[in-house]
Symmetry: C4
């Protein structure tokens, strides 16, 4: 499991999604009652599989060793609220960050988006001063959950979010899938940005095309892949 | 032929035109009565030449093995309508997708465009709900053919199209040429986007310059190359 | 020390921040009374550690050998005014240059910015003809110092600046840190550019979020890293 | 000389300035009375030093072998008009092409520009139908020369041009220098594009700063480099 989380973390700089020590991947095993996550602030080039940090389901360290990613608490909140996800990824990938900084959800402008995200990727509201000062990383988790509840979104169908003024979190059944969702999110964020540049009056694709593409790849009638 | 299709498929991620498993190349041999196409959803790093899928000219599988790309039906329609093409390529290359998502054809703003595409690259109309639900991939082929018929375009002179809300298809005499046309299409899509950013009133190049560049490289009076 | 400055100089083209011979890194050892800086106009591929130029704290050469970077005088002024910095980096990294050429300071639009720069990165005023003609590189240093004094900025909390019509300078405790600040500056410059493209009315993040992110990584209550 | 021209041609795709077979470099030896230029339409990966084409000063082939680049006539005209240049480069590098397609000269927005180009890089007028049909490549050369004459520009001080609707030509004392000028031109074209995006009212840098940077690197009072 440490090996898997380690490899998924390394996939982020390889895909151009993180610079320096930004970004982190975690995985949960609900049966074993453990979360494995990247250590805080360790350069990717020096990180080893055994440096991965192991915690219980509340984020308490289960082993001596390195400090966990400072974003651990956000991951914990997401695992508690989204019962069916197995991995969480956080990056500062640049195009997703641009939308998060602009405070706008990412509209579904095309089928590249619809293949992975069933509708627009929401942007949270801004955290209040009170929330930031009290328990920043926990409240970041809460505001993500609140966004999905208020907009009645299924976290499996929309496996990612933009945190206002900050950046993206994505998730998935396992680390590989969660990292793939980060790659897709950044790509469609770039595409959407320039789609608006080419045609400022463009509308999201119609629901029937969104349905077609999403359900071509997901659910019991999927017919994409082997 | 499998080897050729395999190599052409690998050329797509190498040229930066596809991420993950997006994109597919097929080749047709009209004399043999076969189409060879990439299998559906197989990572490029694990794909082998023998995984290429062989079908008849209606897209029916001729061998046991992997499932064909889900876009096979679109390729079949294009081969039936465009009698002289030997290969079809589909990608989600980002700049071409931006124009497809914006619902605009790509104007011929310069000679880089004119060297390969004799006039603007058209964007199809949006498919109706009825079309999408009935036979999505077939109707995608039909709307491309309809676009070429209505705009009286020669598919050999304009070897590519943008499908509204989706992305580009290109074609050519063989897989190598069809892939090259995908590379050019994405490059000129990026150039056109920023050309409009630098001068919002810019017009396409005049017909005589389009003629000069296109016929420098194509047709019986071509004098480019060896 | 030469080795360290050499390695930091090589890190610039590796990170995509400089082309050709643009850019330079220096380091100061105030106890030894020396500054080590890149030689002027030497290609990165041919440069060796022993080519690094050693000067005293006024920028006077202490060894026979190559000429120092033409920007040496700017580095000297910065070391004299900013007593706690140990290294200075100058690049023409493209996104930072775009803001410098546009004559605008870089607003703190998100936490990626706040993790490294405590508030907006200022842009200097334009140098006068008199200043440019008298002592260009020295006056470039002076206008940076003037900018920090007038805006009452702490050079340790805002470890970089944009020189109007020219480009970025960053600094840090050591060459590695100063180079990292150059990498971050270019990344946030790109993010900010498109943030404004996505939402032309966006405001910088609130002070409490800036505080939270900056002090998560800096100062006595920092809890990021090991 | 063939070796030098060969290496300079290979430098273009390596620097990301050309795709496929676009772009060409030539060198002139006025004493020997020869021009050496890239052959037409040969893939960079298959090209060898001995494939370089040798012509006299009028562009007439002096050896059996491959056909010269179709842009040879443009190079010849430039060599005849600009007596002191030793090499010409043509690319379709994307940012320079964007400005050429937009029909605008590139303003000197910063010192990165001023270090290489002493003032804005001009864009030619559009060629007429008559000119294109009569002798396209020759007239491309003529319109470049006309632009420099009408704007009273020194081709050594402004070693490049944008041909309307087409793309950039640069030149220099030798192939290495001419290629470097192509690299710089594309970089400053990208910077200028976004400089206008960040500040739509920005003006070119003042003459005194242009003078300072240009003459820091060029002419008898230059003090940059070893």
């Amino acid at each position: 499991m440490k090996e898997r989380v380690f490899i998924a973390n390394l996939a982020l700089p390889k895909a151009g999604l993180v610079k320096l020590t930004w970004g982190n991947v975690s995985e949960i095993d609900r049966d074993l009652g453990v979360i494995v996550i990247k250590p805080s602030g360790v350069p990717y080039s020096k990180m080893k599989a055994e440096d991965m940090v192991v915690t219980d389901l509340d984020g308490k360290l289960l082993e001596e060793g390195m400090k966990a990613s400072s974003d651990l608490s956000t991951h914990v909140i997401l695992y508690k609220a989204f019962k069916d996800i197995g991995s969480v990824v956080h990056t500062h990938s640049k195009y997703a960050v641009m939308w998060a900084q602009a405070g706008r959800g990412l509209p579904a402008y095309g089928t590249t988006h619809a293949d992975t995200f069933y509708g627009s990727v929401p942007c949270t509201r801004q955290l209040t001063a009170e929330e930031v000062n009290r328990a920043y990383e926990i409240e970041t988790g809460h505001v993500i959950v609140e966004t999905f509840q208020e907009q009645k979104l299924d976290p499996l169908a929309v496996p990612g979010v933009l945190v206002y003024g900050h950046g993206p979190f994505t998730w998935g059944a396992n680390p590989q899938k969660a990292v793939e969702n980060s790659i897709v999110l950044d790509e469609i964020a770039e595409m959407a940005l320039q789609t608006e540049g080419i045609n400022s009056k463009i509308k999201p694709i119609p629901q029937y095309l969104l349905d077609k593409h999403y359900f071509r790849k997901h659910g019991k009638n999927a017919y994409y892949g082997q």
